[in-house]
Point group: C2
Chain length 211, copies 2
DNA sequence: GTCTATATCAAGATAGAC
DNA sequence: GTCTATCTTGATATAGAC
């Protein structure tokens, strides 16, 4: 079980790196900080990741894999039909504001650590997004609709990460309803709701709406 | 004219900083690199911006002001009516892929330089986005529609900056058409196009479509 | 595999000449 | 206002003991 133990330790060290980024920002993602966070010496850390580039690379690779597993699982849970991938993303990412604390925070840590350390290290995440966007685009929807849904979700993610807007329950729900309505109206087989107001009424009550 | 000359020089130095970020990435945004880019010594640079934080702060402030002027100008050019701000954003940011080289690249330089240097320095950009989102939300559209348009545009911006997707003419046009269609269908006074395919046909030919 | 000690270097910032 | 020279710090990485 040596291999499993080694992987477990690597995971612990990557967790520590993510925690440093989340709490202290990418400027403080130093080998010292990661080692301290993990309760290990810098020398010990460098035994597992010989350079900082390798550490960030592992961070991005793990995050990309997690994100891929995440949206594929959501896809499997989503009823078949046109726009299945787009609907899965809406369900998974915009069901409520609670989603915006765990998985997405880790993804952002990895992406921005790569951006700061060495932009080419973002490649594994790029590959996963390439897969995701292919699925969203070849989804039985009119051109651009699925891509617009995915882009809007990632736009909210950007706002949240950079603090450019307050991404709260209200905003998430409003945007979800608008995008769901766009999806519904895009599918000839499933006719659109009669009016925007009806769509709003229909979606109310489905998520714990803060007052 | 001393004041004007000083401001001109400050602008030149900020241009140099942006050029460094664009060409070499935020990891290489050092005082040495900025000074070299501007053809000045580090000591000379530090006379105008006593700390690196102040330099990045000025970068963000200038970028935020430019971005605000930019979307307000687009707003003035856009016909009145519901969703005016959202339509202005679509026209200005998604008219074609050429837009994705100048203004947005500068904004991204400033934002990510702030993220790496000191996240609190992003505040001026946050204030501008707060203004923009208020305008988009209070625009005579059903709730969430304007915000979804703005978020989708900024999602594309994120893809482009991080290289998470290839933001080319085709993608920009597809997404623009989908969002314009959502806007049109959201406005009771201006009834929706009969079908998504008709919307695609109507929008073709308006922008130089690459083959 | 983990530690301490240390080499090396680059970056931010200061001092003072011109 | 701009320069050169220098100080100081902190970060990556290495060496070698345990």
């Amino acid at each position: 079980m040596e291999r499993a133990d080694t992987n477990k330790l690597r995971d612990t060290l990557l967790d520590a790196a993510e925690a440093v980024v989340v709490r202290q920002g990418i400027a403080n993602l130093t080998l010292d900080a990661v080692a301290a966070e993990a309760g290990m010496s810098k020398g010990g850390l460098l035994h597992h990741f010989p350079t900082k580039d390798r550490l960030v690379e592992a961070l991005v690779t793990r995050s990309a894999g997690n994100w891929r597993a995440c949206y594929m699982e959501a896809y499997e849970r989503t009823p078949e039909g046109p726009g299945r991938m787009a609907r899965a993303l809406l369900d998974h990412c915009l069901s409520d504001a609670q989603c915006w604390t765990g998985e997405l925070q880790r993804s952002s840590s990895a992406c921005f650590a790569a951006l700061a350390q060495n932009p080419s290290l973002i490649e594994p995440m790029r590959a996963v997004y390439s897969d995701l966007h292919r699925r969203v685009a070849e989804d039985g929807l009119p051109p651009g609709v699925g891509e617009a849904v995915a882009a809007a979700i990632d736009g909210l993610w950007l706002y949240w990460v950079l603090g450019l807007a307050t991404v709260n329950q209200e905003l998430v729900v409003r945007v979800r309803i608008a995008l769901e309505d766009m999806l519904a109206r895009s599918m000839p087989s499933m006719p659109a709701r009669s009016s925007p107001k009806a769509a709003v009424r229909a979606a109310k009550g489905s998520g714990g709406h803060r007052s």
